[in-house]
Symmetry: C2
Subunit: 179 residues, 2 copies
DNA sequence: CCCGAAACGGATTCTCCATCCGCTTCTGCG
DNA sequence: CGCAGAAGCGGATGGAGAATCCGTTTCGGG
């Protein structure tokens, strides 16, 4: 990443700025270009694919999640750690619609995103290991399955008019406990 | 519905037949037309919108679900009834990708679909009432919330490589139980 | 100030969606 | 049977959006 030329940095910032005001699931490069006052070519140069743009938009949120994972790792009670983390992950996904695709996608286009995801997923695995050991999460569930469950819960919350995630989170946590 | 002319019935059947071999989430009318050996106009005449086509494709599955709801209503144990029904609903959704959109959509384009949905949703509500009364489902959850949870579970199962829905179903049922 | 590299922009091409209307096929009736 | 007109057909067509390509402009180090 050889430092951006000043005009390039300006364009990039404008595009991201405009993109943030759009539904992350329906980004139209031509519209973004017009609204940002740049050519379409410029948008495509900065973000070769929609996914690259979504990653860039999501990076902040991803960093926030990374911090929350560190906090959870520092928490001594395994039950509290996992409950807090799942709540945070769900909230962030609800707040930033682009987060779920980024977390689920196997191919990361940006190194920063890749690195953040590595730490997040690794940390999550750790916390889950502790939670299993402490008997607050069923030992027969894989890390992936729990990740998928969080995504499923996001989906469920989004289907409702009110987006009160608390009942859904309770159900998830109760369901995860060993029988 | 004033009975179809013979050529119209043939076209309709061909289109549905071809559509069934496609991903319900990515139906391209031009492709269907070519593969079915009819003009695009014909496809649009029979199914003015993608949703209308999905409804038609889904009707069989919807009827199956209706039958399963009746069976659940006849079951005397409320816990068994709801567990069986949720399992069935999840399985049908996984099997027929178009089912979730049809169940969730508020506007039904076909009367048959509307009627089936009425019975299904009404019956489900009944079963849920009994389940709450029997103490197998938390009383603070609305019918809609439970519906959304099933959809969320479908989403979660689909994210995984293996589509073994059993663990997800167990988690859902455990989570639904009162604390 | 100059020059090569970097970035820009938008015309253009390609693909896919959806409509419209002249032509064909069906069917019921005389 | 054969005809009339209703019903259905089909694909050319116009429109919208995606993505590319290349001549022009801008930047910044020497």
């Amino acid at each position: 990443m050889p430092v951006l030329r000043s005009d390039a940095a300006r364009s990039r910032a404008r595009i991201l700025d405009v993109a943030r005001r759009h539904d992350p699931g329906a980004l139209r490069f031509n519209d973004l270009a017009r609204e940002a006052g740049v050519g379409v070519g410029t948008v495509y140069r900065h973000f070769p694919t929609t996914h690259a743009l979504v990653e860039a938009l999501t990076l902040d949120t991803l960093e926030r999640l990374r911090v929350l994972v560190r906090a959870a790792l520092a928490e001594s009670d395994a039950g509290t750690a996992i409950a807090d983390l799942l709540r945070a992950a769900l909230d962030l996904q609800l707040e930033e619609g682009g987060l779920q695709p980024v977390l689920l996608s196997a191919e990361d286009e940006s190194d920063e995103v890749h690195e953040a995801k590595q730490e997040i997923l690794g940390g999550f695995e750790q916390i889950l290991v502790r939670a299993r050991a402490a008997g607050v999460v069923r030992p027969d569930l894989s890390t992936e399955q729990v990740e998928h469950l969080v995504c499923g819960m996001e989906h469920a919350v989004r289907l409702g008019a009110s987006s009160d995630r608390e009942p859904y989170l309770e159900i998830l946590l109760a369901g995860l406990r060993p029988v």
